[in-house]
Symmetry: C2
């Protein structure tokens, strides 16, 4: 398979990319330093990157931003950071990406445990994650050409534990193997419209 | 109690308003023809309306738009109709409304079954509903002054059955009494950060 992994250089992305590279042709998409330059917050950038690559069998997105801050410190504009990037960025990736997939191809988005079990400072981040969970279930009812769309929702992963543990009191870190397997389930399984939760 | 019901003239809103009016002072908020003019899609309009009213005990929002259309016909701009109105409109109502509530007051938002169980044409509508479900759980961790925020998520209601039944094949209409009770549970109960599902 030919797979584009957006955010394939990140904490989770690099492990996921290493796994898929064993048996597939993997392209890393990133705003800088990838094989392909792509910024999901900009629909024109998505189109341009996919036009350059041509047909794919799978697109994995492990990218997208949202602002973390106390509820009383988040401005309306702050919410739009997440709406434009992690929410509409991933929606646009499905809208546009479907045209560049071979029949039966898959698109795998990423959210996280905040959608179901938020912590403080995440009114924006939890919201965009929850929106994507519902979007994936809805788009599955309509998407054509046998394309499968799923979303991986991970708890705090092992490799991010030191950086984030204070934000997630009492959360049990997810091993990187389990994190990788969530993406394998989406790409190599046959599930459609699934929220693949690993908490 | 003094209660502002935004969208209190709508299909669901008028039944909810009639119920609360029995024992409370109820103000109807609407873009036109309400007691108070308010457009939740515009933060300045929310502030202006609440500034005119003064302190409240409860705010109920049964308003907000999102565009329904086939996935392949929804443009990026179409998604922003729902993001600005039903999603950020309700977020802004909590951000701003909390300052105008008496201690222990409540804010009740509205979504719908699409968040959990979408139908075709609802990639945008389902998404904004799901976002609000996660937002409500997240804001509950931080909101101050004893303010409670809940969301009512109804299935298709009896009074909208004729208009919407073709969009919801096999869905069982919710009686208006059950719909009213969901709002009563939020306003008169003690629950916080709840998604009150009546499907």
């Amino acid at each position: 398979m030919k797979i584009l992994i957006i955010g394939g250089n990140g904490t989770i992305g690099k492990k996921v990319s290493a796994h898929f590279r064993e048996k597939n042709e993997v392209l890393i998409g990133a705003r800088t330093n990838g094989d392909v330059q792509i910024d999901i917050a900009d629909a024109a950038s998505i189109t341009s990157a996919l036009e350059d690559i041509g047909k794919l069998d799978a697109i994995i997105c492990i990218a997208g931003e949202a602002k973390w801050a106390n509820f009383n410190e988040l401005s309306e504009d702050d919410y739009y950071i997440g709406l434009r990037s992690k929410l509409m960025g991933q929606v646009n990736l499905v809208r546009i990406g479907q045209k560049y997939l071979n029949a039966g191809g898959s698109i795998t988005l990423s959210t996280g445990i905040l959608a179901d079990d938020p912590v403080i400072k995440t009114t924006s981040a939890a919201m965009v994650n929850g929106g994507i969970h519902s979007f994936v279930q809805a788009v599955d009812l309509e998407i054509e050409n046998g394309i499968r769309v799923n979303v991986v929702s991970l708890g705090m992963v092992e490799d991010a534990y030191d950086k984030y543990k204070d934000y997630f009191p009492g959360h049990n870190p997810i091993t990187m193997d389990k994190a990788i397997n969530a993406y394998v389930r989406s790409v190599d399984g046959r599930g459609c419209g699934e929220v693949i939760r690993v908490y």
